[in-house]
Subunit: 128 residues, 2 copies
DNA sequence: CTCCAACCTGGAGCGCACTCCAGGTCAAGC
DNA sequence: GCTTGACCTGGAGTGCGCTCCAGGTTGGAG
């Protein structure tokens, strides 16, 4: 229950093999265990981190910031406040992002409604 | 009420001057009017298009697709169905995007809640 | 008429986040 | 032991959406 081949880790995390290697290379994922032959072995812990990275990535956090978070976690328990703050700050960004998305979605629906109030009317304000 | 200098168009649309020029260059914005000296003059119609582009961009539509939409609109009234379909299709993408964002936001809030149920507990599943 | 800030062009460069490649190694199944 | 598919490395390349630049032109204020 705690030793996954690269392909298995990729399957479970939804990241490509190249992305997993990339994340390790840039120091986002901490050094991953290896077999004597040098092949990666991912642990449940690594998988947990990947789930988090997916969450942060999907909500638009830049990699540099994720890396900062990961580094803080590696630095130990005394960085908990800073990590907490980092996530809270990110959450407010996400809230703003959600509001914008909702607003523009509403706008889009208006536009679509326009097409549904055709047929055979005059072109709309932006001729589109 | 219908002739804006580039800087004014930029201010009103929220796009940079470079972006406005870029949008014209790639054929997203139709050829913009010019003074005899060659300087751009944006119309209310152009501004309307920019509002739409902002909506589509903010909701994640790739430029290629926006360009397709704009081209269809230029092609005339008989493309209305296709434009309608394009927007409807995009709207479903946006809905999915919103669901994902909400889901990952909830996940993020859980993570934050974890930090709030400290202090001085054991590290969480992904040690973060 | 002069000045200078705003504008023009074509094209190069950038930042992000991967993605692909060549050339070689590892390890499980037969 | 051999085969073969999964894996390794460093580094180059990609796609997107701008952004910046040099070198020149325009046009309204004074």
């Amino acid at each position: 229950m705690s030793g996954y081949a690269p392909s298995e880790a990729a399957r479970r995390s939804g990241f490509s093999l190249d992305t997993l290697r990339y994340y390790e290379k840039i120091g986002l994922l901490a050094d991953v265990e290896r077999t004597t032959g040098g092949q990666r072995v991912f642990t449940d812990d690594d998988l947990g981190w990947l789930v988090l990275f997916r969450c942060l990535r999907d909500t638009g956090m830049p990699i540099a910031q994720m890396r900062r978070y990961a580094q803080l976690a590696r630095d130990g328990e005394h960085t908990a406040d800073e990590r907490h703050e980092l996530l809270r700050h990110h959450a407010t960004q996400v809230e703003e992002q959600m509001r914008l998305l909702q607003r523009q979605y509403d706008h889009l629906r208006d536009k679509i409604r326009f097409y549904e109030q055709l047929p055979a009317t005059a072109p709309d304000p932006e001729a589109g």
